[in-house]
């Protein structure tokens, strides 16, 4: 029998660098470090040489220069005389706009489809399965282009709304669906509208207070106060009362046809609608699958146990199934939100001025500052991704099953 002893000290051979596990780890890391440094140094020196040959320097000075191009849809003041940095900010806000709008509608589509897919109704569940499969298996770029084509080819031009007997009419006299975009009424804030808004905010607070009170009543005395209609009442009645008492301070700026185009109201451009709708219906298909998986992950025994305790079906869902399903649904849901945000970079295909189209598209082509533009672009997306995944990690840790 051999006995295992430590190798004697001082007897170091070069071969131990590869064969001895104590040294091998260090050897490998040194090799990797050298190779990595060589590659990076080589890339860096190539970059320096190439920039010098092209007569360029690495600087972000071009961001202060005049952009010189127009943007269709902006959230902040912007003209073609603004700087490239202003154009980039317009792009950032537009990306965030479509991402937030898309996440909201994608959740609505996804949760509806996911729940309906589990419905006992055969035809509805099949229809939802068809929706999910059709959208999951076709590239989102094709969906964006299809919906953009629907917007620009199938909807009427603004001139179709003209005349005594127009070909098209506005929906409810408020909304105009044209091939340039959808026009919706814009609110006008007159004097006194601040009070109405304040009343509305207070009503929201009052709803929460009422629900807390009802819960306390339930726990203290077992008396179950109604939740639904009092909440709605508290939410709307004071606001509507204030609105009429103050003499309708909030007006509507209704879009109207002037000249060749609609004026007034808010214009949601066709590219934004196409991108928004396509991203939300595409991501909704993925979210539907996550929701279905989450609900199915809660074992049948949970439902039966809750029923045995005497809970009604609605309460079984809201108090027992959903809290457990959420734990499974939320992490993939957040990563779908991230995917949606990243996919919104496809805006460039339909000419929506998001960050990829302004900074990574026109600014890049006009200034030729490829490295700086792409670097900034990547940093922006990276910042969003890391922020959201950081928040998700915090959430995950907070809802993790506390086991032994």
């Amino acid at each position: 029998m051999t006995t295992y002893t430590d190798p004697e000290k001082g007897g170091f051979h070069v071969s131990q660098l590869l064969s001895d596990t104590r040294y091998r780890a260090i050897t490998f890391q040194v090799i990797v470090f050298i190779l990595l440094s060589l590659v990076l140094w080589r890339l860096g020196s190539n970059l320096v040489t190439n920039l010098r040959t092209a007569g360029l320097t690495f600087s972000f000075g071009f961001l202060a220069d005049t952009a010189g191009y127009d943007v269709g849809q902006t959230l902040i003041p912007y003209s073609s005389q603004s700087s490239n940095w202003q154009a980039a900010k317009v792009g950032i806000l537009n990306t965030l706009l479509v991402a937030v709008l898309g996440c909201i509608t994608a959740t609505i589509f996804g949760v509806t489809a996911g729940v309906l897919r589990l419905s006992k109704n055969w035809i509805v569940s099949r229809l939802m399965a068809a929706y999910v499969e059709a959208f999951r298996n076709v590239p989102v770029l094709i969906w964006i282009l299809i919906i953009y084509a629907i917007m620009t080819v199938s909807l009427p031009a603004p001139s179709a709304f003209r005349g005594e007997t127009p070909d098209s009419t506005m929906l409810a006299g408020l909304f105009a669906f044209t091939n340039r975009g959808i026009y919706i009424p814009a609110p006008i804030w007159n004097a006194g509208s601040g009070i109405v808004a304040g009343v509305f905010v207070l009503s929201i607070a009052a709803v929460f207070a009422y629900r807390a009170y009802a819960k306390k009543q339930l726990f203290d005395s077992g008396r179950l106060l109604p939740m639904g209609w009092p909440s709605l009442l508290i939410l709307f009645v004071p606001t509507i009362a204030a609105f009429f008492l103050l003499g309708r301070p909030v007006g509507l700026d209704i879009p109207a046809l002037r000249g060749f185009n609609f004026a007034g109201g808010i214009k949601i451009g066709a590219p934004l609608i196409a991108l928004w709708f396509a991203l939300s219906i595409y991501t909704g298909a993925f979210i539907a699958e996550n929701v279905r998986a989450g609900i199915q992950a809660v074992s049948q025994g949970q439902t039966e146990a809750a029923a045995a305790l005497g809970l009604r079906p609605g309460r079984i869902m809201s108090l027992v199934i959903l809290p457990q399903a959420m734990r499974v649904i939320i992490p993939p849901l957040i990563s779908q939100y991230l995917n949606l945000t990243k996919n919104s970079s496809l805006a460039i295909a339909v000419g929506y001025a998001d960050i990829t189209a302004t900074l990574g598209g026109i600014t890049l082509n006009q200034t030729g500052r490829a490295i700086e533009c792409v670097l900034l672009l990547m940093l922006f997306y990276l910042a969003i991704s890391l922020t959201i995944s950081g928040l998700m990690n915090i959430y995950n840790n907070s809802v993790r099953l506390k086991e032994r």
Partner: protein, 432 residues
């Protein structure tokens, strides 16, 4: 007891009543409909709404399909045939069929070459996809990249032959030395392969015939659905090994290697593919030695491969994490070193768990190949948006073209995801 009331029994049935049929509402189609379509009034409403939706879709699509025109040379001719009726101008598909599949610059007398490469793809993929086929068929899979390269790009046959020889020589060196040390085997394999390629490259340059058997087709001539297939298949097969390495690197306890892998994976996963394609298109050239330029298609393949490998690495990391710790300890207690334990115990199990995830990534990757149209490459979507919709004959044919593209991708991706579900059932052995 028994005979007290015997007389009062007037009638005793001595035969069984034949079972009467269940009520109509409890059998067959009616029962099925009552249970599945109209069980509650909410369900009934949903059913009616769903039927109405199907009716609307059918009314919109069916006449368009049935009245479709398949044989006109242009949109105006098609509209003349239709005379105002609703109908699809599918003749754009028949007329531009080759452009949609192969792009508009691939030499038209050579279409058989990508065609054969496509058919061979099934033969090469079969042994990987179906484990019950004889393992010897994997030779076809190993040879396929070289054959397919030769068929699609053409040129001198020496290029793929020497590329293959390099791999064979590298494998031979590895097989000889791996008994001693895995690291030594890998280093030797890389060195021998590189040497073979270097010598092969010189020989190829020296003796390349002016007139090769198969005409050489430059990469910029690739297009259409063929380009999507090339990008999808190449990038997927390259990114799986890279993804395995990245996943192992991320699990490694060597801090430097772990840090490099974590930074790489998180960076790639944090940015959209489009920005990486911008890098391939306009930035990568700055990082190459001055004067070198290589194919846009190769740069795109590199970038998509890096992109996919980061996602695959995360899937495989999930598989590695799902293995019970006992498996790692069992490997150690058998006296296996790290490469042996990984190759023989950990990876076979971890990869098996990861297969469904990898297939999902594959579907996503294949769909993402359409993004190359944004950097003006003429893949299927690029062909539709560029040369076909811009042409005088077919300006304005949106639904037929996009519908065709959607259908093509749907068939492939749905097929892959059905395969993945089948595979999951095959692989479920009851324990992980």
């Amino acid at each position: 007891m028994s005979d007290t009331h015997a007389q009062s029994v007037a009638f005793v049935r001595d035969t069984e009543i034949p079972a009467s049929p269940p009520p109509v509402a409890q059998t067959g189609a009616v029962r099925w409909m009552r249970e599945n379509l109209f069980s509650t009034w909410v369900n009934a409403l949903l059913t009616v709404a769903a039927l109405y939706a199907i009716y609307l879709i059918g009314v919109a699509i069916l006449p368009w399909l049935i009245n479709g025109v398949w044989t006109t040379p242009s949109l105006t001719a098609c509209r003349e045939v239709l005379q105002g009726k609703v109908g699809g101008c599918f003749s754009v598909l028949t007329e531009r069929w080759n452009q949609l599949l192969f792009g508009f610059t691939y030499p038209s007398d050579q279409y058989w070459r990508p065609g054969i490469a496509f058919l061979l793809l099934f033969a090469a993929a079969a042994p990987v996809m179906f484990f019950k086929l004889p393992r010897k068929l994997l030779i076809i899979t190993a040879l396929y990249p070289f054959v397919a390269y030769y068929l699609i790009w053409g040129g001198t046959i020496l290029t793929p032959v020497f590329a293959l020889l390099g791999f064979v020589a590298g494998y031979a060196a590895y097989a000889r030395l791996v008994k001693g040390s895995f690291a030594l085997g890998i280093f030797a394999a890389v060195a021998v392969a590189a040497l073979t390629w270097w010598i092969g490259g010189m020989i190829t340059d020296a003796v390349a015939p002016a007139q090769p058997w198969l005409e050489e087709v430059p990469s910029r001539d690739m297009g259409g659905f063929m380009l999507n297939m090339i990008l999808g298949v190449t990038c997927l097969s390259l990114s799986i090994p890279l993804g395995i390495l990245l996943a192992l690197g991320r699990q490694s306890n060597l801090p430097l290697i772990k840090a490099v892998c974590v930074v790489f994976i998180e960076f790639i996963r944090g940015v959209p593919l489009i920005t990486l394609l911008f890098v391939a298109n306009v930035v990568l050239a700055y990082f190459l030695p001055p004067g070198t330029s290589f194919d846009l298609i190769l740069r795109v393949i590199i970038m998509i491969t890096l992109f996919a490998s980061a996602y695959i690495a995360e899937v495989i990391r999930g598989g590695l994490a799902a293995l019970p710790k006992g498996q790692y300890e069992a490997g150690d207690s058998l006296g296996l070193d790290y490469p042996q334990a990984m190759r023989l115990i950990i990876l076979p199990q971890a990869l098996k768990i990861s297969i469904p995830g990898i297939v999902n990534i594959a579907v996503g990757l294949f769909k993402d190949t359409t993004l190359v149209s944004v950097i003006s490459m003429f893949d299927l979507v690029g062909m539709i948006r560029g040369p076909i919709l811009a042409s005088a004959e077919w300006n304005g044919v949106y639904w037929e073209l996009f519908g065709f593209a959607a259908l093509l991708f749907f068939v492939v991706c749905y097929g892959i995801s059905k395969y993945s579900q089948w595979l999951e059932r095959q692989l479920s052995t009851g324990h992980r």
